[in-house]
Every structure is written in C-alpha cells, then in structure tokens.
C-alpha cells in the first residue's frame, strides 16, 4: 500500500487526540468492566470471575429501584427539556430575523456558569421560604408555604430540565433552520393549513434534531450526581449517589462498577427504544 503524504499528515495530526481519548476512555472502562466481575474481600479485591455483583444489583430492591428510577427520571427530564425547548428553537429559527446569534448566545450563557451553583440556586428557589413559595404566598394562591417542592424526584426533574436546556435548543434549532422554506410555501399552495403544515412538514423534518437532543440529554442524565444529592432527598436519590457510596464509604468498588455499568446498559436500551419510536413517528408523519 502506498502511503501518501496526505494520509501520513492526517494520521499524524489526529493520532495524539485520538490516542489520548482512547487511552483515557477505553482502558479505564475495560478495567471497570473487569472490576464489576470481581469481588471485594475487605480491603483486597479478589480477582476471580463472578456474576455475583450483577445478581445483587438486579435482585436487591434498593439497587434495582435506584437504577429504574434513574432511567425514569432521565426520560422525564429528556421529554420535558425537549418539550420546553422546541418552541424557543422554533421562535429563533422562524420568528427572529436579525439577531439569531444573539438569541442563541443568550440561551447558552447560563449553561457555562458553574453547574454546582445552578443546582444550588434551585435549592433556594424551591425552599420553604424560597422564590416559588414567596411568590405564591404574596399572590394569595396558598396560605402556608408548601414543603413538598424540595427533596423529591420532581425537584430533580425540574432542576435538570433547566440545566440541559441549551442541549435541546441547539440541535432542534439547527434542524429547523435547515428546513427549505419553499417546502412550507408548497405545503400552503397545496391547501394545507398552518397546523397541518407544521405536523406534516416542519415537525417531521425537525425529528433529527429531536433525536440528537434526546441522546445528548438522556444518557448523561442517568449518571447525574449533584442534582439528586442537593435537591432529591431520599425519594429523589439516583444511581450515581449509590455508586459514590460504593466507591467511598462502603468501599465496594466491584459492586459500584457493576451498578454503573448496569445503569449504562439500561439507559442505552431505553435510548434505542426512544430513538426507534421517534424514527417511526417521523415515517408515519411523512
């Protein structure tokens, strides 16, 4: 095989980054998989193959509940974030004429501030004497502050939907922006009303953006640690909190590894189902 200069330069330039990421992703993940099949023997890790950790993860109701709750919360977060973000992406793509870049910048700024601090602010928003309660009290909607706003899975969902907003807005905006405006004209000329045009032209053509948004939100959210720890309470605890316990206080790394990998496998399966459903929707709308 003749190695051209272009091939050589290309490989040479992309090797450092690719090897760096491969080395720091593939090697550690392989080790984590190995750990998940080993057992913790007090301070030592016994390196003998066993399914025991996975058996424990799926038979112990505590772990099972945490994993399924994490997937459920991640799914709710994804749905809510996309639902709330779609009109904004639509607004920027179709209604904003001159200052699109400014709007996109405006909606991404909060994302670049400390995630830890943003979650912490939600704790203040939802607290007993927080913003929501103060507002409801002064409007006379409630007589006494609600103490059910914080420390549950709903608080986790709202906080995460806030944190992930730009990740939904940007891909949906890109797919809406790409839509050939003459298609909408054609749809109108053929006698479709605005609602049917939206359902049969705009929505199906924006599904790639929705799929992108779902994937980039759904999978990382399953492993979120900060939000459930700060606003989740015991009802809103997620799998990452238990993984941290296993790597910290409980000092059972093999079980922690098995928990982490089980969560990833479950969310990947769930993500495939969601993407498949969206693709079906896309086909049925067209």
């Amino acid at each position: 095989m003749i190695v051209t200069k272009e091939t050589k330069t290309g490989l040479l330039l992309s090797a450092p980054a690719t090897l760096y990421v491969l080395l720091l992703i593939a090697a550690p993940v392989a080790l984590t998989i190995a750990y998940s099949f080993w057992t913790q023997d007090f301070v030592e890790v016994r390196r003998e193959f066993t399914w025991a950790n996975y058996a424990e993860v799926f038979s112990d109701p505590l772990y099972r509940t945490l994993i399924f709750r994490s997937v459920r919360i991640a799914a709710m977060v994804t749905f809510l974030t996309v639902l709330l973000a779609y009109p904004i992406a639509y607004y920027i793509a179709f209604n904003v004429k001159k200052s699109k870049a400014l709007w996109l910048f405006l909606v991404t700024i909060p994302f670049w501030t400390s995630y830890l601090l943003r979650v912490f602010s939600w704790k203040i928003v939802l607290a007993q004497n927080g913003v929501v309660n103060s507002a409801l009290l002064s409007l006379g909607i409630i007589d006494a502050p609600l103490d059910t706003l914080l420390y549950n899975s709903e608080a986790v969902v709202v906080t995460l939907a806030h944190a992930w907003a730009p990740f939904a807005i940007l891909p949906i905006f890109v797919s809406l922006e790409k839509i050939d405006r003459s298609l909408l004209e054609a749809s109108k000329d053929l006698g479709e009303g605005p609602v049917r045009s939206f359902l049969r032209v705009t929505l199906p053509l924006s599904i790639p953006g929705i799929v992108g948004a779902c994937l980039i939100i759904f999978i990382p959210t399953v492993g979120d640690y900060v939000t459930p720890a700060l606003v989740g309470g015991s009802d809103g605890a997620m799998v990452a909190n238990m993984i941290q316990v296993q790597f910290g206080k409980a000092n059972n790394w093999p079980l922690g590894s098995a928990l982490a990998l089980s969560a990833v496998v479950c969310v990947t399966i769930a993500a495939c189902i969601v993407v498949g459903a969206l693709k079906l929707l896309e086909r049925s709308l067209k």
Partner: protein, 272 residues
Amino acid sequence: MSLVSTLTSRIGRLLPIYAVLYVAFLYLPILLLPLFSFNDSKVLGFPLTGFTTKWYGSLAEQTALFDALKNSLIVAILSAIVATSLGTLISRAIAKYRYPMRRVSHTIVMVPLVMPEIIIAISLLILFLGIGLGTTLFTVILAHSLLTIPFCVSIMTSAFGQFDDSLEEAAIDLGEGTWGALRRVTLPVVAPGIISCLLISFTVSFDEFILAFFLSGNSPTLPVYIWSQVRFPAKLPNVIALGSLLILVSVLFLLVAEHFRRRSARLTTKSE
C-alpha cells in the same frame, strides 16, 4: 414567505411571550445568588432583610479557599492548553486531509461529551489508582483535558472548515514554505478560534465538579471546596458570595470567548 407569516400571526403573539418567560426561567436561578449574596441574613429566603457586603469581606479570611482557587487555576490553565493543542491538531486533519479512520477518530474524540460523567470519574479513579498515579491535581488535569477535547474539536473543525485554502496556497506561491504559510497565514486567521477554545476549556474545567470530586485527592479544586462548605448552613452566605463572583468570572470569560469566536467566523469565511 406568506405561509410563514400566517403561522407567525397565529402563534406569533404567543411565541415572543413564551420566549421571554423561558429566558427568565433560564436566568432566574443564576440571578438569585448575587441577590442573596448582598442580603444581611444567614437565612437564604424571602423577605430580604437588608444590604450588606460583609459576606464578601469575610471571604478574604478563608485560606482554604485561596488554596482551592490556586488548584483550580493550575488545573484549568493546564488542561485548557492540553485540550486546545490536541483538539486543534486533529481538527486541522479532519478539515483539510482525507485519510483512513478520519471519521472514526472524529467520533472517538467526541465520545467524552455523551458519556455519563460518573462513569468517566469512577473508571479513571480505578485506572489511576491501579497504575499507581494516585489522585492528585495531575490526574484532575488529565481528566479535564479529556472532558474538554470535544468542545475544542467542535470549535476548531468549524474554524478550519471555513478557512479558505487558497490563502495558504497563495502564500506558498509567493515563496513561503509549508511551515511559513502555516505560521504566517493559517495560524493568525484561526487564532481567534484557538483563543475561544482556551477560554471555553478553561471555563468548563474551572466549573467542573464530579471528576475533580473523585480525582483531586487532598488538593480540592474550587467546586470541591464549595461542595464541602454547602453542608454547613452557617457557611452558606459565604458560599453564595463566592458563587456570585464565580458566575461573574464565567460570564466575563464567555463574553470574551464569544467575541473571539465571532472574529474567527468573520476572518475565516470564504469570500463568495
């Protein structure tokens, strides 16, 4: 455009209102921290009791905070340099050359963006302890570089992608060598992109919590320090004051990064 305008007239009246409410929803929590940081009460709630700057004043007494700040600066600067260098090299290859494994390596370097951070954190912890590196600032730098490479690759592939190759060819025709053309033509044109990468990576690393939480050992970064303080109600006003300063710094950095990104877009756009 008539259909778009029909649609606009129907939903048009509601959409701008929704947009404003949504932006308020995005900004409200972040604006609360500065508000409470000037409130003369240890209780983080309404009604506000009075104006004070004492929470900012007492920040200066906390030596642990300054150690954490120093750690964070070291980590953020070094990991920004590593990620920007690696990201710039591969982006140049992706944008300019055709070679085997081009798309595969592009996909690989974007992977850290979609992996749950807790998985990256525990697997790196297992690796670093397994090979005897322990947990130090060095391991946090390795992890943060990994996390920020995808951001650099997306900024730089677009900067190089819009770069007009004929500029470089012209330089070579005028007698520059490959390196000369790179140094005197290409680099100056994509420099705003590189600066924007450095600033974005710095910001991401400076604010990152989970990886640092697992990998920083006895040298906490600023977010890890904040985490340790959040548990003590008496410390909260200080944390809020510190947090307000951090948000201010992040937003300033971001504004500068955006300025450079736009300049990069203007400089590299091909003349039609």
